[in-house]
Amino acid sequence: MTEKTGFFGRLRERLGKTRTGLVDGVRAVLGTRPKLDAETIEDLEALLIQADVGVQTAAEILERLRETAREKRLASSDDIVAALKALLLEILEPGDHTLSWTADPPPHVTLVTGVNGSGKTTTIGKLASKLKAEGKNVIIGAADTFRAAASDQLEVWCERAGVPIVKLHAGADPAAVAHDAVQAGLTRKADCVIIDTAGRLHTKINLMEELKKLYRVVAKLQPGAPHEILLVLDATTGQNGLQQARKFTETMHVTGIVLTKLDGTAKGGIVIAIQKELGIPIKYIGVGEGIDDLQPFSPRDFIDALFS
């Protein structure tokens, strides 16, 4: 037992030694050592790994940074920082980070998916309010019929946003809800239909099959739909986020990611690995619980925040 306290004691010391949160930035690392030596590389690796970028992705990025530094003979810390940011931007920038929210013929249909607790319902509440404010006619489909009171939660958000909701009883077939929501969208000539789905772990084959069924029902009703499939990802998620994105996009082509809970201390670096490996662009970030706390994704701002 004494040895056990020893581990925690030493760990606390280690945690205390470094500045709280992440290192104060690459500048701080490089300020004292403007050369890209092994120690600096290790510090940069620590920075990236602690942002959940992942050990493999971090290694690849740093390898390229080393090459760039050699080729361009970068010496100043400012240059190295700029080069690293440029490398990250190269990964994060490609793809469409915006959402059109228009379809011809209307309505534009969006499915919102993700594992349990990632923030799907809250995100939909915020999206509904945003679109409503832009003057669009929105209908929300409460296809999470599994979690206790999920549709009640969504209903509160819909009331706040002033948009109609389509829901069935608890335990109803989610595909039936999706069907009714899209049908309502067609009949009432809505601009957008957003469908909330139950949180599901990507490893549950049956639940993923259920999602496929929901997709088929929507696609049958409205050619070209769903126009967007958003995967909601919690920024505190570690390396499993890549696996989540992979499995969801294997099930149905995910068109974008909403990265939630960025208002804590988590950096959400796993999205770098996701975009690098799977090419799924980030569309929005969630930065709070307020109805307006959903922002369009800016690769530059995100990278700056990674190092803040």
């Binding site: 056990k4 581990f7 925690f8 030493r10 760990l11 280690r14 945690l15 470094t18 949160g21 620590a46 790994i49 602690q50 942002a51 959940d52 992942g54 050990v55 493999q56 594992v115 349990n116 607790g117 990632s118 923030g119 509440g125 979690r147 206790a148 009171a149 999920a150 009640d152 939660q153 969504l154 209903e155 509160v156 958000w157 608890a170 772990l201 990507h202 490893t203 549950k204 084959i205 049956n206 099959e209 919690d234 920024a235 505190t236 998620t237 570690g238 390396q239 499993n240 986020g241 696996q243 989540q244 992979r246 809970k261 208002d263 804590g264 201390t265 988590a266 950096k267 796993i270 619980e289």
Partner: protein, 454 residues
């Protein structure tokens, strides 16, 4: 290709195998691999650094035991260190001598507090306790309603005052309510909050000061990444945490957050959440978790779970069959029906020692629809065909496909799957038989020498 922490460590030690003795160099290589594996498993960067330093110190100081393979020696050191960090023993919930016992659930948003509260209620109810679920989350829309529904599903008492009352008051009043209703345990479901939200952290502190809970459980998701240390530390600094509950352990997250959480909070993991249903709550066993991390598989949980649902007689018969390798399609079908009861095959397979390696990351999952097809195909075979699948040539395959209303491709796939499973059985039996011998560190499953050594 996705690799589990288990597989990573296995391959790390594979490179150590074959080397006659431990040198600083080959430890360093192995440690580098362990470091990488732990980081990929989301163990915090600094925790890993400390862990590797400790393991290295322990390993280098040790004499090479001639009779033990160097890899096994390192495995034992790593295993012991992991167990040491994870607490060594299963930690039960505290029960107050003076009822009611108050248990408070805290954590970030979306970790599964409300669901876990319901699971704990079911667990306590099974133990003969009478829990009262208290809705202290007045912020998240419909959180009160959700807990009420959960309480109904769990068949336990519920107390809520809507969303217009201060959560501190709700928790205080719950004590009188529990007394009135004869409840001996109070479960406080507090709102999810960010550790950097000073106002919300002040509120949760106030609740704790007002009701002085016997247990304050930090609920965290097994998929949590590097930030686990930051949030856990803030909660620890604000509240006298007594335990951790790790949720979503039924996914494929490598769960390194467990090590980070324990390291930072100094609290044991008391339970793990293993599914969406209210009975999917298991005790946490550090040895099992460490064993799982080191590639010995969580064979104990597997057996326990299997015993609950699997027909014992069938199981014994199946074992004998597998040993003799006269494993036919009838066995295949009945085994699949049994295993189906246990949930996803993929999840289970991962729990069998070495299985994840043998499968090479390939999943053998199938859904209910597949299951129906498989049954139809096997039922369309003659008894002889089922018992001697070798005789099923092209002509018979077509007949079976027609008879079962499936396609030739499906029949072929089933026969291929069957063949694969037979090979796996053979391999497993071979490996199992070698327990304790020098067949490599992972050959022995439960029979591994190190299991009895600590």
């Amino acid at each position: 290709m996705f690799e589990t922490l288990t597989e990573k460590l296995n391959s790390a030690f594979k490179s150590l195998r074959g080397q006659g003795r431990l040198t600083e160099k080959n430890i360093a290589d192995g440690l580098q691999e362990i470091r990488r594996a732990l980081l990929e498993a989301d163990v915090n960067y600094k925790v890993v650094k400390q862990f590797i330093a400790d393991v290295e110190a322990a390993a280098v100081g040790q004499e090479v035991i001639k009779s033990v393979h160097p890899a096994q020696q390192v495995v034992k050191i790593v295993h012991d260190e992991l167990v040491k960090i994870m607490g060594g023993a299963n930690a039960p919930l505290k029960v107050s001598d003076m009822p009611p016992t108050i248990i408070m659930m805290v954590g970030l948003q979306g970790q599964g507090k409300t669901t876990t509260t319901g699971k704990l209620a079911v667990h306590l109810k099974k133990k003969g306790r009478k829990p009262l679920l208290v809705a202290a989350d007045v912020y998240r829309p419909a959180a009160v309603k959700q807990l009420e529904v959960v309480a109904q599903q769990a068949g336990v008492e519920f107390f809520g005052l809507g969303t217009g009352v201060d959560p501190v008051d709700i928790c205080v009043m719950a004590q009188g309510e529990a007394q009135m209703r004869g409840c001996d345990t109070i479960l406080l479901d507090t709102a999810g909050r960010l550790h950097v939200d000073d106002q919300m952290m002040a509120e949760v502190r106030k609740i704790a000061q007002a009701v002085k809970p016997h247990e304050i459980l930090f609920v965290a998701n097994a998929t949590t990444g590097q930030d686990a240390v930051n949030s856990a530390k803030q909660f620890k600094d604000n509240l006298p945490l007594t335990g951790v509950i790790l949720t979503q352990m039924d996914g494929d997250a490598r769960g390194g957050a467990a090590i980070s959480l324990i390291s930072v909070t100094g609290c044991p993991i008391k339970f793990v959440g293993t599914g969406e249903k209210l009975d999917a709550l298991d005790a946490f066993h550090p040895e099992r978790m460490a064993g799982q991390i080191l590639g010995m598989g969580d064979i104990v949980s597997f057996v326990e779970k299997a015993q609950e649902v699997v027909d014992q007689e069938k199981a014994i018969k199946f074992q004998e069959k597998a040993r003799k390798a006269d494993w036919n399609l009838e066995d295949f079908l009945s085994q699949m029906q049994e295993v189906k009861k246990l949930g996803s095959i993929g999840d289970l397979m991962k729990k069998i020692p070495g299985m994840s390696q043998m499968m090479g990351g390939q999943e053998m999952d199938f859904d209910d629809g597949d299951m129906k097809h498989i049954e139809a195909i096997i039922h369309s075979m003659t008894t002889e065909e089922r018992q001697r699948p070798k005789i099923i040539a092209a002509g018979r395959r077509r007949r079976i496909a027609d008879g079962s209303g499936t396609t030739l491709a499906e029949v072929n796939r089933l026969l291929k799957d069957f063949d694969k499973s037979r090979k796996l059985m053979k391999d497993m039996m071979k490996r199992g038989g070698k327990g304790g011998k020098r067949g490599g560190p992972f050959g022995g499953g439960r029979g591994m020498p190190m299991m009895g050594m600590h």
